[in-house]
């Protein structure tokens, strides 16, 4: 599998007049191949959404600095001129966003929002575009698609809106699809359907999918490989099985341990990760997770751990990873 998309040491800084810079993303590297689904997991504020927006070139121009490299099919997206990037977006690179209601233009019809992509990138118009739009809606599982074309976002249910957004995103069979929390705003039952839909599309079209989420259950469901992010950097990277069965980073184990399990005793206390995401220190000179880490060593406060290969099966950024035996106890089979 050739690497389709490679992100290398991508930092994103937000600057504001009179205030210190905010480093939303501190240097992220990961890659995705065709047909592969890669997960980007982290809490809110970990920088996962910002990473994807930076890749797509959707961050505001002013007050934002992006560094590093984001290679797509041999070209560095970060160095492309604006109109070249605009041509790629929607056609080869596509994104699905979190809240389907606010992500849709409320005053124009669903049909128009689909056909405009077809018009722009596939040169279709009029009846041809509408027919294709109806077909796309059907593919994503929206019943009675021809009628839906004329309807407006507020007339559709949450699940249908998200499907419509997915239809818009895959209309031109993109090679890379980024889904930013596609199921967070939806009911649990709909979540599963949407994930199935994404999985099906990916298999059919060989799309590379980057799935951004804070929900480990989602990750376990469809990701082939997983990147765990904390405070703007990746702290653990492994394939699904390895991550869930043998998590080595204290943050990852903490996440897994904090999820209540159906088969555990009812009176077992919950084990949240101590502290809060704001108890963090910059990555420059230390491990950002150190203030909350139960396995903290002195070196964790003085030296940033590097993302290093660990046993050939994962990348790990930690001075004192969880020992194998302990991690097996915590690890769980992914929820299906």
């Amino acid at each position: 599998m050739t690497t389709l998309h490679d992100v290398d040491d991508l930092p994103v800084r937000f600057t504001r007049r009179g205030r210190p810079d905010v480093r939303a993303v501190d240097g992220v590297s990961f890659s995705v191949s065709a047909g592969e689904t890669v997960g980007l997991v982290g809490e809110s504020g970990s920088g996962k959404s910002v990473t994807s927006l930076a890749i797509m070139g959707l961050l505001p121009k002013r007050g934002v600095t992006v560094g590093g490299r984001a290679e797509f099919a041999g070209r560095d997206l970060l160095r492309l001129p604006a109109d070249a990037l605009r041509d790629l977006r929607g056609r080869e690179l596509s994104m699905v966003f979190q809240d389907p209601l606010s992500a849709l233009n409320p005053v124009i019809s669903i049909g128009l929002q689909v056909t405009e992509v077809l018009e722009r990138h596939r040169g279709m118009s009029g009846r041809e575009a509408r027919a294709e739009a109806a077909r796309l809606l059907e593919v994503v599982g929206i019943p009675d698609p021809t009628r839906r074309l004329r309807e407006y976002p507020h007339q559709l249910s949450g699940g249908m809106r998200q499907r419509a957004l997915i239809a818009m995103a895959v209309a031109c069979q993109p090679r890379l699809l980024i889904a930013d929390e596609p199921t967070t705003a939806l009911d649990v039952t709909i979540q599963a359907q949407i994930l199935e839909l994404l999985r099906g599309l990916v298999q059919e079209q060989g799309t590379a999918l980057v799935l951004i989420t804070h929900d480990l259950g989602v990750v376990a469901g469809i990701c082939d490989r997983v990147n765990v992010m904390y405070s703007g950097r990746i702290v653990e990277q492994a394939d699904r099985r390895t991550l869930f069965v043998q998590p080595r980073h204290p943050y990852t184990t903490g996440l897994l341990a904090s999820i209540p399990r159906l088969d555990s005793a009812a009176d077992l206390p919950l084990e949240p990760i101590p502290g809060s995401p704001t108890d963090t220190v910059p990555w420059d000179t230390a491990c950002a997770f150190a203030p909350r880490c139960t396995r903290r060593l002195d070196v964790c406060g003085t030296e940033r751990p590097a993302l290093a290969d660990n046993g050939g099966v994962r990348l790990l950024r930690c001075h004192n990873p969880v020992p194998a035996a302990e991690s097996l106890a915590v690890g769980a089979e992914g929820r299906r």
């Binding site: 233009n105 005053v107 124009i108 722009r120 407006y152």
Partner: protein, 335 residues
């Protein structure tokens, strides 16, 4: 949607009813009674008695009001004291002039205001943006007659003399006026120089009248665009790789102009009242100037009739704007 329209139309009735009642009572409450008002300086007891019987002012108030209403519905508002023609005919003779002026002002305000507001918002924080904010603040504070004076002085007299300073048409120009809309008339009768001249006469008063609405429109457009630009659906549109023009037109402006269109109704009110002052400064023979003249001439039938008609027009325009909002925003339409 239809129900919405009908409901709003029905609301019109009590409003106009209340307005006519208020006006009626108001005028009857004049010191000395309406008879004294009608007579003005020629007020003697005998004349008053005569007027009273002539106008049926000795009958009970509700009878008077009923008669007034009956005539109002037939658009009979009596006769002007100063010109001795019917109030209605005076109104409709002059209304086209005011409509032309108001349209000119509105076209100016929207045509310049929306793009300016849009670009100010897109270039947030730059010189253009700050200048627009300050400009629009000044615009709403400056009284319309100041602007009228300023333009008149600068471009029609004191400094440059490029544009006419009064009237609708050069008095030396002979032209026919089938519709009384001078610009249109010239086009209809192929007297193009008349059209052009009428247009020239509209420029200065139009600019003066339209500046305040311009300031308001810039303000609202800018604020609306600033809001909309941060909306998720604009980001989606960008993510789809749509062209800049498409994003701007279909996604940003379509939504940003919603709040702007709701103020058009308000602007009409500003334009109508501003017309009174502007027409006076430019001696523009429209409804506004006639109202100003009627004030000094104490021409109460004219005041009463004109005010009622203008109010009706204003309420109707607001109604139309409300209805059109339903057309533009499908969330309102399809409840």
């Amino acid at each position: 949607m239809l129900r919405f329209a009908v409901r709003r139309l029905l609301l019109l009735v009590p409003i106009l009813f209340g307005l006519s009642l208020a006006l009626f009572v108001w005028l009857r409450a004049l010191p000395g009674g309406p008879a004294a008002a009608l007579l003005g300086e020629r007020n003697t007891a005998a004349a008053q008695a005569q007027i009273r019987s002539l106008y049926g002012l000795d009958q009970p108030v509700w009878v008077q009001y009923w008669k007034f209403l009956k005539r109002a519905v037939r658009l009979d508002f009596g006769t002007s004291i100063s010109t001795h023609r019917t109030v209605t005919s005076e109104f409709f003779t002059r209304f086209p002039a005011t409509i032309e002026l108001t349209l000119a002002a509105l076209i100016f305000a929207i045509g310049v205001g929306v793009p300016l507001g849009y670009f100010a918002a897109r270039r947030h924080g730059t010189f253009l943006d700050n200048a627009s904010v300050i400009g629009s603040l000044l615009g709403v504070t400056i009284p319309v007659f100041f602007l009228a004076f300023l333009f008149k002085y600068l471009l029609a007299g004191g400094v440059f003399s490029v544009l006419p300073d009064s009237g609708r048409l050069d008095p030396r120009l002979i032209a026919t006026h089938p519709t009384n809309f001078y610009v249109l008339d010239g086009l209809l009768t192929r007297e193009y120089d008349a059209s052009w001249d009428a247009l020239k006469h509209l420029i200065l008063p139009g600019l003066a009248l339209g500046t305040i609405p311009l300031a308001i429109i810039v303000r609202i457009t800018r604020a609306a665009v600033l809001d909309v630009v941060h909306e998720d659906y604009v980001r989606t549109a960008e993510a789809k790789g749509l062209s800049v023009a498409t994003v701007r037109r279909r996604h940003i402006l379509r939504n940003a102009l919603l709040p702007v269109s709701t103020t058009i109704g308000l602007q009409t009110g500003l334009l109508l009242s501003g017309a009174i002052l502007t027409e006076t400064v430019f001696a523009f023979p429209g409804v506004g100037k006639f109202v100003a003249d009627a004030i000094s001439a104490r021409d109460y039938p004219v005041l009463q009739g004109f005010v009622l008609i203008i109010a009706t027009v204003y309420v109707l325009v607001n109604l139309l704007v409300d209805l059109s909002y339903g057309l533009i925003d499908p969330r309102v339409r399809l409840r």
